[in-house]
């Protein structure tokens, strides 16, 4: 019996999971196996794993600078050194800051930025979108017009304006991105819930007399959440890309070990032939975004095959 329901779950990913928890876990395991069958996803996951290790073991990889580890230690006797010089594997910038140190401690900031922003916007957007879809009518109309207003300004530009008003600091970049990114989730979950609400199992739950909160929690949300998972994965990369752009422009503290700020610090040297600072720091951003894009695409192919490759 369990194997039969397990198979059914596998062929229709949106099937309600009212039955035993074992089926749920069997299905999850199967999705996991399917995701890992794509070599590009595995590459993405490996890069993410390496970045996680880098962030966790940053103090072991590069001795933290006192008092603030997110400011590179300055080696004034080795300014603008090319890669390979003793003690500076990836070279130094124009103020003697070690590039490798910046990349290692920058991974912590990228992790902090992406996890904070994605978690907050995912939860907040889901709440707003769910209220709109479950309540409908005037509330839906009002909430969706607010969403329209937010969507009418491109993300980076909106975040730029907010961060500019709050003043140059990395924490303000986090705030600005959190204020902008929730809209997408609200819109996605609203559309999904409206679709799911028409399903027979929701009607059945209503007939049985379940409370609307229970219907939402047990039947609607679990079946509407798949596209959110994909979007959240992609946004783990997007958030770092936009955050890096803001700090490149100059909206983070001076000398911060943030990758975008590092690229900016290397900009003047770049035209003098000192290519290493900007190149390596930018490469870290690309790898981070690439990894989450690969995993996000892989997840989408498995969870949401209708939009494969889009």
């Amino acid at each position: 019996m369990t194997t039969k329901t397990g198979k059914m779950g596998a062929t229709s990913p949106r099937a309600p999971r009212k039955s035993a928890g074992t089926v749920k876990w069997a299905r999850r395991l199967e999705v996991g196996r399917e995701v890992l069958r794509n070599p590009l996803t595995v590459i993405g996951l490996s890069i993410i794993f390496l970045f996680l290790l880098m962030a966790i073991f940053a103090p072991l990889l590069a001795e933290p600078n006192q008092p603030d580890p997110y400011q590179s230690p300055r080696d004034w006797s080795n300014i603008d050194s090319p890669p390979g010089i003793a003690g500076h594997v990836l070279g130094t910038d124009s103020t003697g800051g070690d590039v490798l140190y910046g990349i290692i401690w920058g991974s912590r900031l990228s992790l902090q930025l992406s996890v904070t922003v994605v978690l907050f916007t995912l939860v907040f957007g889901t709440i707003v979108g769910s209220i709109a879809a479950m309540k409908g009518g005037r509330i839906d109309n009002l909430l969706m017009r607010i969403v329209d207003v937010f969507l009418s300004i491109p993300e980076l530009i909106f975040a730029l304006a907010i961060a500019a008003v709050l003043g140059p600091a990395f924490s303000n970049i986090i705030l600005a991105l959190a204020a902008v990114f929730w809209v997408k989730y609200a819109r996605i979950i609203r559309g999904e819930i409206i679709k799911v609400k028409q399903a027979e199992y929701v009607a059945a739950a209503k007939v049985v007399g379940d409370s609307s909160w229970n219907i939402y929690r047990k039947d609607v949300l679990p079946n509407a959440a798949t596209p959110l998972i994909v979007q959240a994965t992609l946004d783990m990369g997007n958030v770092v890309l936009i955050g890096a752009t803001l700090s490149f422009i100059g909206l983070a503290q001076a000398g911060l070990t943030e990758w975008g700020a590092l690229v900016s610090a290397g900009q003047s040297g770049l035209l003098a032939g000192e290519w290493w600072v900007s190149t390596f720091a930018g490469l870290a951003i690309v790898l981070w975004a690439l990894a989450f894009n690969l995993v996000g695409d892989g997840l989408r192919d498995v969870l949401d095959p209708k939009t494969e490759g889009r």
Binding site: R145, I146, D148, V149, S152, I153, P154, E155, L156, I157, F158, L160, A161, I162, A163, A164, V165, L166, G167, G237, L241, A244, T245, F248, I249, G250, L251, G260, V263, Q267, L270, L271, G273, W275, S278, T279, G282, I285, V286, A289, L290, N293, L294, D297, E308, G309, R310
Partner: protein, 337 residues
């Protein structure tokens, strides 16, 4: 819903959304308190500063200030741009023309190259060109525009000196009139091949950099709609008629695959507006993006507000135009769903 009704409803909603944008932008800039700093000079007495605040209604309640700002907007007064040392309305047209020229050039590159690459990838599915195109589009989505710009600057500006920074060579700039503010167009109007070449030489590199991210979206969409189109019955029918492969792909499959691709053009235009901020900064392109970055770094609120408003207006107009174009191209579309 009828296309005309839908268009009218969207047009009616546009001012409502713009009003929302204006409220958000205004509230946001008042978070940090009075913007009087940009108008005051260090040797002013407190009385003089108070007089200045009274003159710009900065001592009034916030809703009144907002009303005054909106009133000014309708009279064509967007305030004083501290970074340009001129009224906002006086400079915004020039900045807009510069960014528009860059965005149109980048958009053209992105659409032409993106459609071509996506077509090849879709036709030769799961072969080398397809893998290449997928890798290209995922790299385009993962590469920060500012970094890509810096990377291209080194070989093409520093080593080869093929493309100069800025928008034009000063002597050439002053040799012709600039009625549109778009230098390539101005050169064509003045019938000056020299000025045209100069404008193009300045335009190419920033436009290519800007096009990269938008192109990634278009390649992706074109590829998947091409894959879909190639499996349709009308393609089989065209083949059965004995038409050559090239004709089947160009006239039958590609023409139909272009339809869904138009829907992402609006989206990719948002990428162009966003990317222009970093690209203009790096290539010293005096457009809206460069204008707003200097405003951001010096706390020039009037400029930031005007910039966000005009960007939202452009973005919404382009998206509306794309929707309408799509509806006219594909009569099966039911809008407003």
């Amino acid at each position: 819903m009828q296309v005309r009704d839908y268009l009218l409803r969207r047009l009616a909603l546009l001012p409502v959304i713009m009003l929302g944008v204006s409220v958000i932008v205004f509230t946001l800039t008042r978070f940090t308190g009075s913007p009087v700093g940009i108008y005051a000079t260090p040797n002013m007495t407190p009385e003089e500063i108070a007089a200045l605040e009274a003159r710009y209604l900065l001592d009034q309640p916030i809703p009144l200030q907002y009303a005054a700002w909106i009133g000014g907007l309708f009279r064509g007064d967007l305030g004083w741009s501290g970074v340009s040392v001129a009224p906002v309305t006086e400079v915004i047209g020039l900045k807009f023309a510069a960014t528009l020229e860059l965005a149109i050039a980048a958009g053209l590159i992105a659409v032409l190259a993106g459609v071509a690459l996506g077509t090849v990838a879709g036709v030769r599915r799961n072969k080398a060109p397809d893998h290449g195109a997928r890798m290209f589009s995922i790299l385009g989505a993962s590469t920060p525009t500012f970094w890509f710009g810096l990377l291209l600057l080194v070989p093409f500006y520093l080593w080869l000196d093929w493309f100069p920074l800025g928008r034009s060579t000063p002597e050439i700039f002053s040799s012709i009139a600039h009625p549109t503010g778009m230098y390539t167009l101005d050169a064509l109007i003045a019938l000056s091949p020299g000025a045209f070449l100069d404008a193009i030489r300045h335009l190419i590199l920033p436009a290519v950099v800007l096009a990269f991210g938008a192109m990634a979206i278009i390649v992706r969409m074109m590829r998947s709609s091409m894959v879909e189109a190639m499996s349709e019955e009308y393609v089989d029918a065209a083949r059965a008629k004995g038409l050559p492969n090239k004709v089947v792909i160009r006239r039958h499959a590609r023409r139909n695959a272009l339809l869904p691709t138009t829907t992402v053009i609006g989206l990719s235009f948002g990428f162009l507006l966003q990317g222009a901020v970093a690209v203009e900064l790096i290539f010293r392109w005096p457009g809206l993006g460069q204008w707003v970055t200097s405003a951001v770094l010096s706390g020039d609120q009037a400029t930031i507000m005007a910039y966000v408003l005009i960007t939202a207006l452009i973005f919404m107009t382009v998206n509306l135009a794309v929707d309408v174009a799509y509806a006219y191209l594909d009569r099966r579309v039911v809008l407003g769903e």
